[in-house]
Amino acid sequence: MIDYTKKLREEKMKLFKDNKVVNWHEHVWDDDDGKFDAQQSDLLVESARRAYMDVLVCSLPVSGGSPDPDVIRRKNNIIAEAVDRHPNIIKGMAFVNPGYSREAVAEIERCVNELGMIGIKLYNQYFISDPVLHPVIEKCIELDIPILEHAGKQMSLPVDQPFISDGTHFAKVAEKYPEAVIIMAHIGGGGDWQWSLKAISDCPNIYTDISGSVYDEGIIEQTVSYLGAERVLFGTDGSFSQGIGKILAANISEKDKIEILNNTRFSRYLERGAY
C-alpha cells in the first residue's frame, strides 16, 4: 500500500516548492490593545515559509458593525507595519467602509499612494452591488487596483450577515463596472459555492480565491470548469492545511494549478507596493 504522506512530502509538495506561490487572502491582526500583533505576523510568515508560499496579501477588516474612518485608519496602519516588518513577503490591502464614501476614497488614496498597498478589502457592510460602493469602485478602477470582497451564499440559519454578497451581487456589479477587477472571496468559505460559481461564470472581471476551510471533493474542479484557471487565485484565509490540500488534490492540469498559485493576470499588482 502506498505511503501517501511520503508521496505528498516528497513529490506533490514540489508544486509549491518549484513554483511561485501568491496567497491572495490572508490576514494580520491587532492585539487586545488594538496594536500591531508582531508575533502573530511572525507566526504567519514562518508558516508560509514552511509551506513554500512566496507572497502573502494581507488585510485587517472589521467584520462587524459599521466602523468609522478613525478605526479603519488604525487598522490599515497595522497592515503597513506588517509590510514594514516583512517587506519581502507581505503585501497590503486597505480595508474601507463604503458607507463613509468620501473618507473611504481618501483612505484608498492614502493606503495606495503613501503606504504602498496593492488593493482593497471590503467586508459585509454592504452588498457589493449597492450604489453606495460606486465611488469606491470608481477609485479602484482609476488606480487600477483589485477589490477583494468578503462573500458567501449563506445557507445556515439564522442569517448573521444580512449584507454578505453572493455570486448574484457580483454579477450585477460586473455588468455596471466591467472594467473593475473584483475578487469574490473564499469560494471554500462562503456557503453554497455552487450557487455563486454559476452566478459569476459569465462575468469575466469577477475572480475568486480558493481560500476557506471547506474542501469539498470537486470544489476546485468545478471552480476551474466555471471560471477557467485564469480567474482563480490561491488563498488560505487562516486555513493553510485546507488551502494547500485542495489544490494538491484537484483533478486539474498542472498548468492550471501553477496559474492558480501565481495568477499572471494579477502579477502587475505585485510589482507595486514599494515605498
Partner: protein, 265 residues
C-alpha cells in the same frame, strides 16, 4: 498502516457525490493508501427505518468481497421503533463494529432516555459510539438539509451518563471539543477519540496550532485519522500529517495504532 475512522457509502440527496459506492470508495482508499476504513450508510441516515440502510451497506461490502477493508458501523435512530433489536442484530448478525448516531438528522437529544439507554447498551457490548459533528458544513447546506450540528453540551452530559462507553468524535472543531470534555473524560472508564479533519496544523494566529491544542487536551493516544471520504478531498489530511511534526511512534498511533487498540485488531 492507515485506518480511517470516517467514510460513507450511499446516496447523498443534496449534491452529486463521486466514489460513493464500495468500488468507488475502495479506489480512493487505494489511491491514498488507506488500508481499512470505518464506513456507514448514508442511506441509513435518510431512510425512516435506518436498518434498511444498514442492510444495504453490508450487502454492498459483501458483494464486493471487501470485508477485510471495511469496518461497518450501524446507524441507529433511538427514537424509532425496535431500535434495540436492530442494534443487537447489527452487532451479532451483521458483524457491525460500531454505532453511529445522527441526532441532528433524526431530531432527538443525546440526553433523552432512549439515547442514553442505547449508548449504555453499546458500552455493555464493547461497541464504540461514533458521533460525527456534521456530515457537511451547514453554511453551505441545501435548504432541505439540517441546520444543526452535534451539540457538545449534550455530548458532555452523555459521557457522564454512560461512563463505560467508548466514543469517537469526528469532523468538528476537535480541539475545542476536547477542551470542553477534558474534565468529564478523565472521570470515566470509556475512552474518547477525536479526528483532526477540521483542524489546521499550521500556527497562524497563536503559537499553538489547533492540532497541537488537540494533542495537549486529548493526548496523542486519543487522536485518529478521518478523511470524510467521499465528501472531501483527502489531501488536506495528509498535509496535516506531513506538517504535524509527529515522531514516528506518534505517527503510528494516529494513523493506525490507536484504532487498532480500540477495535482490537
Amino acid at each position: 498502516m492507515l485506518i480511517d475512522i470516517n467514510t460513507y457509502i450511499g446516496h447523498w440527496p443534496f449534491r452529486q457525490l463521486r466514489n460513493n459506492t464500495a468500488v468507488g470508495l475502495l479506489s480512493k482508499m487505494d489511491e491514498y493508501g488507506i488500508d481499512m476504513a470505518v464506513v456507514s450508510s448514508l442511506n441509513a441516515v435518510f431512510y425512516k427505518d435506518t436498518q434498511e440502510g444498514n442492510r444495504e451497506l453490508i450487502e454492498e461490502i459483501q458483494n464486493n468481497k471487501a470485508q477485510d477493508r471495511f469496518i461497518p458501523f450501524a446507524v441507529i435512530n433511538p427514537k424509532y421503533s425496535a431500535w434495540e433489536k436492530d442494534f443487537i442484530y447489527c452487532v451479532e448478525n451483521m458483524g457491525m463494529k460500531g454505532l453511529e448516531l445522527y441526532p441532528y438528522y433524526h431530531r432527538y437529544a443525546l440526553t433523552e432516555p432512549e439515547s442514553v439507554e442505547l449508548v449504555k447498551l453499546a458500552g455493555e457490548m464493547n461497541i464504540p459510539v461514533h458521533l460525527p459533528c456534521s456530515i457537511v458544513n451547514v453554511r453551505q447546506r441545501h435548504w432541505m438539509d439540517t441546520n444543526d450540528n452535534l451539540k457538545y453540551d449534550q455530548v458532555e452530559k452523555l459521557l457522564a451518563l454512560c461512563p463505560d462507553t467508548d466514543f469517537i468524535i469526528s469532523n468538528g472543531p476537535s480541539h475545542m471539543i476536547a477542551r470542553q470534555l477534558k474534565k468529564v473524560s478523565k472521570e470515566r472508564k470509556g475512552r474518547v477519540y477525536y479526528d483532526f479533519a477540521r483542524l489546521d496544523v499550521f500556527a497562524l494566529r497563536a503559537p499553538t496550532s489547533a492540532f497541537n491544542a488537540l494533542v495537549q487536551d486529548a493526548g496523542i493516544d486519543h487522536i485518529v485519522f478521518g478523511s470524510v471520504l467521499p465528501f472531501q478531498y483527502a489531501d488536506p489530511q495528509f498535509v496535516r500529517l506531513t506538517y504535524a511534526g509527529l515522531s514516528e511512534e506518534d505517527m503510528d498511533k494516529v494513523t493506525s495504532g490507536n484504532l487498532k487498540k480500540l477495535f482490537q485488531l
